[in-house]
């Protein structure tokens, strides 16, 4: 039938002839059908996401060690980590992101390492450190029989070089501030091949604890940033083979490693091309990687039921997640406001909501596991007291801005939950989101904005915690402690504690310092977190402790079944 004939029929009021007009598929059907599809799809994907595992508190914690047995030599560990792009480098002094830290610990060694419960420290290249009467001269006894990857013997001269040149220079070591003003570099003395004398300009009773920080890997005498960028020579369990920043590094076993028989695997491949945490988890399940440090916490909870990979959790919780309030100026300069916020925070709820239950509440005290840590100071939430304190301070109806960033569960998720808690208590907290790349830079207002967040690994000693966060020239001065009125006395107290060598007196001084922080400090430390790592089902021998992922990155302990 021609179009004209069809039209004639229709306009005459008759039904259009059968088959001349497509039937049944009106626009309405299409839109309804499309919506139904997308709705179904959404439900389907949500179902896939929750995957049937136990979630929330009460689910069993993961073990802290993988199954053991007789180690087998051979095979390759392929580690998946989030990319840091071209910023990745091999020099321990300029390591800032996770792939760098893993590479530093694989190629190089440290004088001391954090112990399984932070203290006492584990010996590394140094077997012990002895001090004189007043802790102004430290003598290090070094491990004998250690060789560098190029065959040269490791001696005290190498360590002296690190102290006097690389660790003292802020342009070649990002953590030089920890040792700044402490070491008398001109008088560092090599006594013999395994003994080094390090005089200090001011007494520091816990000096060795400062040397566990991840930027203090020991490099060979004469090494420079350029030489390490092209040919890194270390004493670590793995030797350098190749490195493409932002993509991958390949290391091979160091046959002359100072721990007999280790590492067991032939090769260590660190793949840092990932930009997505879901892709990392998928790659572990799919077998493209077999080691995944700092696994996504929700995936870790779910695998309890699905058993697609193994999860490790350190028994001792030493990473600290905190909110930081400036004590010198801004809305939190009044101590009552700070106390109020610390009282209204329901820490367990934050842990359950943001960390999938992986953590334990902290009471705003820095340094769990450190010597003289005041574990008896306990914060009990009290919303009514918080409200009355705010009213007293005249801040009852004020708006507070919390600056956060999408850097993982301990940041934006926790900030969102905390803002909700505050709102329920009648306190107005607004979130200001800054992107992850600039959050910890001056452009992102680091150390400027009055209310921010942080997540920190254990600094192994209260001295380190103070020198990191609270002393006058501390590099991570979130709270500007010491700059408030009367702050000089507080700083003087810290200096006293750092220098005190008598055990009883030191215990008392450190107690005073921590009590002051507990009463008046600017940190709201809401959780102590464990290290949670994952490995494929055929990996054995690895452990998780308080000292960084996989027990100070000791992949040399592991093997493949």
């Amino acid at each position: 039938m021609s179009d004209r004939e069809v039209w004639a029929a229709v306009s005459a009021g008759n039904r259009p002839p059968a088959g001349s007009i497509p039937a049944g598929f009106s626009r309405r059907t299409l839109l309804a059908g499309g919506a139904a599809t997308l709705g179904g799809l959404a439900l389907f994907l949500a179902g896939c996401g929750s995957g049937g595992g136990a979630t929330g508190p009460g689910a069993p914690a993961a073990p802290s060690a993988l199954p053991g047995g007789t180690p087998r030599r051979g095979g390759t560990f392929t580690v998946g980590v989030q990319s840091a792009g071209d910023a990745e480098n091999l020099y321990p002094g300029t390591a800032t992101y996770n792939p760098d830290m893993l590479r530093s610990f694989s190629l190089f060694s440290f004088l001391f390492y954090p112990g399984p419960r932070v203290t006492p420290l584990t010996p590394g290249l140094a077997l012990s450190a002895d001090r004189n009467e007043n802790a102004t001269v430290w003598t290090f006894t070094l491990r004998p029989g250690v060789t560098w990857h190029d065959g040269k013997p490791f001696t005290a001269a190498d360590v002296a070089y690190n102290f006097t040149t690389l660790w003292a220079d802020p342009t070649s070591n990002y953590s030089a501030a920890f040792l700044a003003g402490l070491v008398d570099t001109a008088k560092v003395k090599v006594i013999d091949a395994t003994t080094l004398e390090v005089p200090l300009l001011t007494p520091v009773a816990q000096f060795p604890t400062l040397l566990t920080y991840f930027n203090f890997g020991v490099v060979q005498e004469g090494a420079t940033l350029e030489s390490i960028a092209s040919n890194p020579i270390g004493t670590g369990p793995f030797r350098f083979e190749s490195f493409t920043p932002g993509r991958q590094s390949v290391f091979v076993r160091n046959e002359n490693y100072w721990e007999e028989g280790k590492p067991y695997v032939d090769k260590l491949v660190i793949d840092s091309s990932f930009t997505d945490t879901t892709a990392l988890t998928n790659a572990l399940i799919g077998g493209q990687i077999n080691i995944l440090p700092s696994v996504d916490l929700i995936a870790a909870r779910q695998q309890v039921a699905t058993r697609q990979f193994q999860v490790l959790q350190s028994e001792f919780f030493a990473q600290q997640a905190m909110f930081a309030m400036r004590v010198d100026e801004g809305p939190f300069a009044d101590v009552r406001v700070r106390q109020a916020f610390r009282l209204l925070c329901d820490r367990q709820a934050l842990i359950d909501g943001a960390l999938a239950g992986f953590g334990t509440p902290n009471s705003d005290v820095l340094g769990p596991g450190a010597q003289y840590y005041a574990s008896d100071l306990v914060r009990t939430p009290d919303v009514e007291k918080a409200k009355s304190l705010l009213a007293e301070a005249g801040a009852a109806g004020a708006t507070f801005t919390l600056q956060t960033t999408p850097l993982g569960a301990a940041f934006q998720q926790a900030a969102t939950l905390f803002a909700e808690q505050a709102r329920e208590a009648g306190v107005d907290v607004q979130l200001e989101v800054t992107d992850a790349a600039t959050y910890f830079t001056p452009a992102g207002g680091v150390y400027e904005k009055p209310f921010r967040q942080n997540l920190f690994q254990p600094l192994t000693g209260l001295t380190g915690e103070m020198r990191g966060f609270l002393t006058k020239d501390a590099p991570y001065k979130d709270t500007h402690w010491g700059e408030q009125r009367g702050g000089e006395a507080a700083l003087a107290l810290i200096d006293q504690a750092v220098a005190e060598v008598d055990d009883t007196k030191a215990a008392d001084l450190w107690r005073q310092v921590q009590q002051q922080q507990f009463d008046e400090g600017g940190y709201l430390i809401w959780a102590d977190m464990p290290y949670v790592d994952a490995a494929a089902n055929n990996v054995r021998g690895l452990t998780a402790t308080a000292g960084l992922n996989f027990n100070n990155w000791r992949l040399c302990d592991g093997w493949l079944e």
């Binding site: 792009g85 071209d86 960028a229 493409t244 930009t275 998928n282 799919g286 992102g444």
Partner: protein, 348 residues
């Protein structure tokens, strides 16, 4: 003596119709004009890229040094990276270098004293990887879209056409990361047939591990084929309903010949335009797909460069992508010009 007779056309001979002046060499003219315009567009684009990159909060020195940036260190690093020079001077020197194939030096690599700092060298590998991915997707896109589009057009109005219409609408509406995640769930988690990530070592080429290409290509194709096949179908239906097709049918020509010679061939111009659009759309899709599958291409490189505020690398990659976009545009229009004689002859 008679008046001179004008020499006119012989009686009965055909009279040449009056036509407008013909363009002598239409293809060359077109190319010259479009390439000149393309260069101007690229220059304008480069200015925008440069301004946008340098407007990002935080400069590369701050980001690289991170929490450990002291004012002295920042100043020293900024000076060695040339960040203290005026904006116009930096732009001009960059552009001049780019015209010679030198895309500058990666700011982050320089700050890290890395052995290789030239942007051109750093992105050569990822560029190759992305090109392989894009090329495979583009090459498969055309026959697949044509097949699906023609199939649907020929069965227009029948149930199979409706089903196909519905399916292509759903696929075309899905963002790449949704489709990609769905494919990972089905082919990786459930069936265990394909890897969920496409990791490649720095010295490996994508073709050395082809199984890692399957899911990324399927994801890219899913959306692009859905869109293009609908265009092919619409164009072909329109062509099949035209008068000259009816005439051909009435004259008894075989249906198959009518479909391809008259239906498809006539609608090719719009189809080519839609293919070009889809291929250009692939560029945006590639960034998401590469991140989802951890495919080491130019998209991942761009993401990392932006996160680290590596201005020279961001500029270099963005400029390359813009140039590719423009080239594809020109090529698509050239193909249309060749396929549609009317455009060349200027006939009405």
């Amino acid at each position: 003596m008679s008046a001179p007779t004008e020499i006119g056309p012989a009686p009965g001979a055909p009279v040449a119709p009056a036509t407008p002046p013909r363009v002598r060499r239409p293809v060359v003219d077109f190319l010259v004009r479009r390439i000149a315009l393309g260069v101007l567009t690229l220059v304008a684009g480069s200015i925008l890229i440069f301004l946008a990159t340098n407007a990002l909060p935080g400069n590369v020195a701050q980001v690289v040094l991170g929490r450990d940036a002291t004012p002295e260190r920042l100043a020293a690093l900024e000076s060695s990276l040339g960040l203290d020079r005026p904006l116009v001077e930096r732009y001009v020197s960059w552009l001049v270098g780019a015209l010679h194939g030198d895309l500058g030096r990666s700011a982050v690599a320089m700050a890290q004293s890395a052995p290789e700092t030239s942007v051109s060298v750093l992105i050569a590998g990822p560029l190759l990887n992305s090109s392989v991915l894009a090329l495979i997707a583009a090459v498969l896109l055309i026959p697949l879209s044509l097949a699906v589009g023609v199939f649907a057009a020929v069965r227009a109005g029948r149930p199979s056409d409706h089903v196909l219409s519905y399916v292509t609408l759903a696929f075309g509406a899905l963002p790449e990361f949704v489709l990609g995640t769905l494919l990972i769930v089905v082919f990786s988690s459930w069936l265990g047939l394909l890897p969920p990530v496409s990791l490649l070592g720095p010295s490996e080429t994508p073709l050395s591990r082809p199984v890692g290409l399957v899911l990324p290509v399927l994801t890219l194709l899913g959306v692009a084929v859905a869109f293009s096949s609908r265009q092919v179908r619409a164009g072909m239906i329109r062509a099949l309903r035209s008068e000259h097709v009816k005439t051909a049918r009435l004259n008894g020509l075989a249906e198959r010949r009518i479909r391809y010679r008259y239906g498809l061939r006539t609608s090719l111009a719009t189809s080519v335009q839609s293919f070009a659009q889809s291929i250009q759309y692939l560029f945006g899709g590639i960034i998401v797909v590469e991140a989802l599958f951890t495919y080491p291409g130019i998209g991942t490189a761009l993401i990392n460069a932006v996160l680290r505020r590596d201005v020279t690398q961001v500029q270099g990659i963005a400029l390359l992508l813009a140039a590719a976009y423009i080239v594809i545009n020109i090529l698509a229009d050239l193909v249309v010009l060749l396929v549609v004689p009317k455009l060349r002859t200027g006939a009405r």
